[in-house]
């Protein structure tokens, strides 16, 4: 289903502008108002919440508006390992997803080009994980990696893993889970750009006596850069904020907590709303810096 969002053709030349402001207003207003009320306003709310101070010290879950910038210092001091870990894990998962997805996307987008039905089947297989619950998929990996499972047993019998070692609860398991869960977000945009790749450019590279590797590096990769960039964003952003993979009941342990886990715990369990809000704003700010870098590279029109 999701590949409809990525695998669409380049927009055709747009028709000449028309001036019918009443119709535009009618078309835009409901949706835009909705996003202003339920997306933009909550972000402002989040900023205000991040500056709140407790009403009475010791009174759990009750806060008043203040300008307590100290909240940011406190959360960074308290949670810097989790903040750092989120970005490291997300970056590694993005890298692995890219290494995994590029050859696959190349095969589907280029080699299967002359077989539309096979191509459609391959794309369905790529998005198949979307059709089954995200949480159950992750739990399936947890059970495959279980201490008493055959995988751990086999690895241990070949001495590839020490006899007291585990997979679940380690950074490896969490990064593995993040990689697995976000692979389709990487494969689809890369597929979309490789699918449009004009093979005559590759041919030209070879005619000019470039080696296959040089052609790949200087022709194919740059031409698929838009796909790589959106794949990186689509993988990195959800991976950095995810708290399912790293949670204790799934692939993680207390030592693998990410910023999402901290936000969830502070908001829903500890009811420390200002801390949760401050962490959210920090995460959002970091992501926005990343996105603005992307926007500068590709222009705002390509955002959607």
């Amino acid at each position: 289903m999701a590949f409809g969002a990525f695998a669409t053709e380049a927009p055709a030349a747009e028709p000449a502008p028309r001036k019918k402001s009443r119709i535009v207003l009618f078309l835009l207003l409901p949706g835009v108002l909705y996003l202003l009320v339920f997306f933009a306003t909550p972000l402002v709310s989040l900023i205000l919440t991040s500056l709140q101070a407790p009403s009475v010290i010791g009174d759990i879950g009750r806060y008043d508006y203040a300008f307590q910038w100290q909240n940011y210092v406190t959360v960074i001091e308290t949670y810097w390992p989790q903040i750092l870990r989120s970005f490291v894990y997300a970056a590694l998962a993005t890298l692995f997803a890219l290494l995994f997805s590029y050859p696959l996307a190349y095969f589907i987008g280029v080699n299967l080009r002359r077989f539309p039905l096979l191509q459609a089947l391959a794309l369905t297989l790529v998005i198949a994980p979307f059709f089954i619950s995200f949480l159950l998929r992750t739990l399936a990996w947890k059970q495959i990696f279980a201490d008493e499972g055959w995988l751990v047993g086999t690895l241990q019998s070949f001495a590839l893993l020490p006899s007291d070692a585990q997979i679940n609860g380690t950074p490896f398991a969490v990064i593995f889970g993040l990689t697995y869960n976000f692979i389709p977000f990487m494969t689809l945009p890369i597929y979309a750009s490789l699918e449009r790749l004009d093979l005559r450019y590759v041919e030209a590279g070879n005619d000019l006596y470039a080696s296959s590797w040089t052609t790949f590096r200087t022709v194919t990769v740059p031409l698929s850069m838009p796909g790589i960039l959106s794949g990186v964003l689509l993988t990195f952003i959800p991976a950095a904020g995810d708290f399912v993979n790293a949670s204790r009941d799934f692939l993680g342990s207390t030592d693998t907590a990410m910023i999402g886990n901290v936000i969830e715990a502070n908001f829903l369990v500890l009811q420390n709303y200002p801390a949760a809000a401050a962490l959210s704003i920090l995460l959002m700010a970091a992501i926005l810096i990343l996105v603005s870098f992307y926007v500068r590279r590709s222009g705002t029109e390509d955002l959607l």
């Binding site: 289903m1 028709p15 790529v126 198949a128 739990l139 059970q143 590797w213 708290f243 908001f267 955002l303």
Partner: protein
């Protein structure tokens, strides 16, 4: 792995130029790449197969190790306490959220492609940002807002949240369809004295329908499987993903695997039949031309 793709590109440099219509040769690397892709598909499918297989497990309390084959979980899906209520909630939320998001998103998509207006760049940014915001931030933000205003959380707030993050995906999907629409068709309708209403409902809308349906399917899938935003805005209401998350600590009943498997097969059937219909229509059109 990227080396493999590079090697796969061509070995044309070492072969003499071939003038015929297949200019592009992949050589040995093609088979390496094909083998890799097959293994990659197998890897992607492992947890799915695992989930389906364990829906047939005759489990006791926890569905972790395999005991024996049974159909009981399929015949009595609702026997596990709360699983069917959670599923029904998820369906209700996804249907309502999809309808609202698809209508609002389609209207915006048409406006963005067809008209130039002053806040076009601003609107584009407003649509892009929810997709670029991590789900925890969206969830926490809305929850903070509901808290500040004093709205009680429940199914209603979940729907409000889901519409919010689905709109952008609907716009992206429908926008491409609107952009590929030939304006001459609508002009022809107007030339034949069709009223704006007639032109829209008889020409524009039917042509946009495949894109709108794709957007609705995407929106439904996003809403149905969302956990992170839901958990911040659900209060005591339980959705299917929330049920699984809560049950993860004490053991998932195999009935949850059954429901997930049903959803999986239903989605596959819908997607495959949609693709076959498109393929058949293309063939028909190609024959006519």
């Amino acid at each position: 792995m990227t080396v493999q793709a590079g090697a796969a590109i061509t070995d044309a440099a070492t072969t003499p130029p071939r003038p015929e219509r297949r200019p592009f040769r992949l050589g040995v690397g093609r088979w390496g790449l094909a083998l890799y892709s097959v293994l990659a598909f197998v890897f992607l499918l492992i947890p799915i197969v695992y989930t389906i297989v364990f829906s047939f497990n005759d489990y006791r309390r926890t569905n972790i190790s395999w005991r024996s084959f049974t159909l009981d979980n399929w015949l009595g899906v609702c026997n596990a306490q709360g699983v069917c209520e959670a599923f029904a909630n998820s369906i209700l939320i996804a249907v309502v959220a999809t309808v609202i998001a698809t209508v609002l998103g389609t209207m915006i998509a048409i406006a963005l492609v067809r008209y130039r207006f002053r806040f076009r760049a601003g609107t584009t940014l407003l649509l892009f940002l929810p997709m670029a915001t991590p789900e925890v931030v969206l969830g926490a933000g809305l929850a903070a807002q509901f808290l500040a205003v004093g709205v009680a959380k429940g199914i209603g707030t979940i729907i409000l949240a889901h519409v919010m993050f689905c709109i952008s995906f609907v716009v992206v999907t429908v926008r491409a369809r609107v952009a590929s629409l030939d304006p001459a068709l609508e002009e022809a309708g107007r030339d034949l004295y069709g009223s704006p209403n007639q032109v829209f409902w008889r020409i524009t809308f039917p042509l946009l329908l495949p894109g709108i349906m794709a957007a609705a399917m995407l929106s439904f899938a996003l809403s149905f499987d969302d956990f992170i935003i839901t958990t911040f805005n659900s209060g005591a209401a339980v959705t299917f993903p929330k049920f699984i998350y809560t049950a993860a600590a004490r053991g998932i009943p195999a009935e949850a695997n059954v429901i997930a498997s049903i959803v999986f097969f239903a989605s596959i059937i819908i997607v495959v039949s949609a693709q076959l219909t498109t393929a058949a229509r293309r063939k028909r059109l190609a024959k006519k031309a």
